[in-house]
């Protein structure tokens, strides 16, 4: 998934006509000052760190300024922050608005209902998890009629809006639904949605775009705000790769088998550090690339656990033997292999010829790799 930073989300909102505060992004204190002196951002203004983590207000990542010099100082302080592990690269400066009330609206997917759901609450401006269930309204949306006019009227009533403000909400929700579908969003969330005079203003924007729809939205491909460099390389090679804190590398195929493998390793005292899901492949080159990628993460030991279906055991064995030949001696790691399923006998034979044993039992193989990571025989 691609999580859009607030400013990117707001740029998207702007193209669909969702009302926003007057604002501008800056990447340095001087740029921040210039947004104010040039009149592009009115005073007083708010300066917000553009990070993906929540809780910015409490963490010193949102500041206020009444002069251009203050805006510069605020930007300087925020740009020096590392917020919950994320380096702050941009700040968003926006003119302050006179907030009468703060509301919550979002559209997301309800997997169990197999329907999108419109979530609204009159208690905006706080984390929605903290709001009591009784104060949250949910309306499920059938994709065929889409978000109906009566559902939008219901939302206005729940939020206590009438007259021109209710009409503003009607327009905003119709646009939010368009964004949700047209941009293939997993989530579009406005929290808070401020009542300002008779109208509404989106003070924040949280948008998550679904990866699987990338073929329709090439513009999101370049956004890589929340991936490590190795994760980025893996993504390009269509290998699911996640880095954790432990020291055992796990290469498996399929999400379920990968997760089950982690469960078993933990049971025997192992600490998985990187896991890499080959998915379905019958290309030995992909297996080789996966191994070379794994080597770059410097694991203490690697566990290869494959159950062949689409992926054939002999393909994996060939790729593995090729990769082990390419890994420099200084970066070698102990390897425990377990390959089962399609063409199992052939795969095991290829590994054996290269001096690698395959341990057929899941429990025994997991215990072996934990021992290897601890330097035990």
């Amino acid at each position: 998934m691609v999580k859009l930073a607030e400013w990117r989300g707001k740029e998207l909102f702007r193209t669909y006509g969702i009302p926003l505060p007057t604002g501008q992004v800056a990447r340095s204190p001087a740029e921040a000052e210039a947004t104010v002196t040039s009149g592009r951002v009115p005073l007083p203004c708010v300066v917000k760190a553009q990070v993906l983590a929540g809780g910015r207000g409490k963490g010193g990542a949102v500041r206020f300024a009444t002069t251009a010099a203050e805006a510069r100082a605020a930007a300087e302080a925020i740009l020096a922050l590392e917020f919950k592990g994320e380096k702050v690269r941009e700040v968003l400066l926006e003119g302050k608005v006179a907030i009468a009330r703060e509301l919550y609206v979002s559209l997301t997917l309800d997997r169990s209902a197999r329907l999108p759901v419109l979530i609204t609450s009159a208690r905006g401006g706080v984390e929605i998890e903290a709001v009591d269930d009784a104060e949250i309204d949910r309306q499920w949306v059938d994709p065929f009629p889409g978000l109906t006019a009566y559902a939008r009227r219901h939302a206005a009533k729940v939020l206590g809006l009438a007259g021109p403000t209710a009409r503003a909400l009607d327009d905003l929700l119709a646009k939010l639904w368009t964004i949700f579908q047209a941009e293939d969003a997993e989530l579009v969330e406005i929290n808070p949605l401020a009542v300002v005079g008779d109208g509404l203003v989106a003070l924040d924007a949280k948008v998550i775009i679904e990866d699987d729809a990338a073929f329709r939205h090439p513009q999101y491909a370049a956004i890589q705000d929340d991936r490590t460099p190795l994760e980025e390389i893996a993504r390009e090679k269509e290998i699911a790769f996640v880095q954790l804190d432990g020291n055992i590398g796990v290469i498996a195929n399929g999400a379920g088998l990968t997760m089950a493998t982690l469960d078993v390793l933990k049971e025997f005292g192992g600490s998985p550090g990187v896991f890499l899901d080959l998915g379905g492949t019958d290309d030995p080159k992909k297996v080789t690339e996966a191994f070379l990628l794994m080597a770059q993460a410097h694991p203490k030991a690697v566990f290869l656990n494959i159950f062949g279906g689409v992926t054939r055991c002999d393909t994996v064995a060939k790729g593995l033997v090729e990769a082990m030949g390419q890994v420099p001696a200084s970066e070698r790691f102990p390897l425990v292999a377990r390959i089962r399923g399609n063409n199992e006998a052939l795969g095991i034979e290829i590994l054996r010829a290269a001096g690698i044993a395959s341990v057929p039992d899941l429990k025994a193989s997991a215990q072996a790799v934990v021992a290897a990571a601890e330097g035990r025989p």
Partner: protein, 294 residues
């Protein structure tokens, strides 16, 4: 009788001329499935693995009497392929294709439902009843006819588990891989009544994963409506938190969706819980033996 497929299943393979389509057409035929037609627009007149290829599903149905579809077409075209199958009268569609945007799947699911058609998948290994028919990609080697039903959200983990059941000396009645996508055509709750009604299934194995609340929903259903013994396993107990759909996703699943909540719910519903995949065959054998004594 088995679940959803049997000796009368006549399969059309959509995307048959692609690499996966061709490979798995061979696999389905070797399993003993009656594969009657293939479809690839623009490739009519040819043959793949001895199966005639047509331009459209309608022609495949007319010429071959197809009543089930296996869809292998690439994700950008999968929605259209499914709609075409439903419009041609196919009522069982197994969507193997992965990476279909969920917005597309929402349209596919609700369209199929409105027309009385069932989707299995997407991003799934499909369905197989040993000795009868297979629609999908589960490797043939893991099967052996028997009386254990399997429903699973996983792919390869399902193969691993089905194989374990075989190595225990038992066999399977029907195995359905539901797929792990956010929106699936057939959920645990949709599949459970089919196994309850299947006289060939004595024990059911349910393989879940963390995320979503499909397992909790299944537990609720099992509690009131499912009389057969169940062995449940949930993958991902030790997976790190995160990887969820922001705040709005969290409030939908409030207090549900973790491995702990799923296992507790299933245990409360009377299921025997396996902590690791290798514990499943033993539990299944125990319950099957008890069933035989009744």
């Amino acid at each position: 009788m088995s679940v959803l497929v049997d000796g009368g299943t006549r399969v059309v393979v959509q995307g048959i001329t692609g690499h996966q389509g061709t490979v798995h057409t061979r696999g389905m035929k070797e399993f003993g499935t009656n594969v009657v037609a293939g479809v690839t627009p623009g490739k009519a007149g040819g043959q793949v693995e001895g199966v005639p290829v047509y331009d459209s599903v309608r022609e495949a149905v007319r010429a071959g009497g197809a009543n089930a579809s296996a869809i292998f077409v690439p994700a950008p075209f999968a929605k259209d392929a499914l709609l075409e199958a439903v419009d041609a009268g196919i009522r069982l569609c197994v969507v193997v294709t992965e990476h279909i945007p969920f917005h597309d799947m929402l349209v596919m699911y609700h369209y199929a439902r409105a027309h009385g058609a069932r989707i299995i998948g997407p991003n799934c290994p499909g369905i197989a009843a040993p000795g009868k028919a297979k629609v999908g990609i589960i490797p043939n080697v893991v099967f052996r006819p028997g009386r254990i039903g399997v429903i699973s959200r996983s792919g390869t983990l399902t193969y691993e588990i089905v194989n374990g059941i075989k190595e225990m000396g038992l066999g399977q009645s029907t195995c359905i891989g539901l797929g792990g996508d956010p929106v699936v055509g057939t959920s645990f709750v949709d599949a459970l009544p089919l196994f309850e009604a299947d006289p060939e299934t004595d024990v059911l194995v349910l393989v879940g994963e963390i995320g979503g609340t499909a397992e909790e929903d299944a537990a609720e259903y099992i509690h009131g409506h499912f009389s057969k013994p169940v062995v449940a396993y949930i993958a991902g107990r030790s997976a790190p938190p995160g990887k969820r759909m922001g705040h709005a996703g969290a409030i939908i699943s409030r207090g549900r969706g973790t491995a702990e909540t799923k296992l507790a719910a299933l245990q409360k519903a009377g299921a025997r819980v396996a902590r690791f995949p290798y514990e499943i065959p033993g539990l299944v054998a125990e319950l099957a033996a008890q069933h035989a004594h009744r």
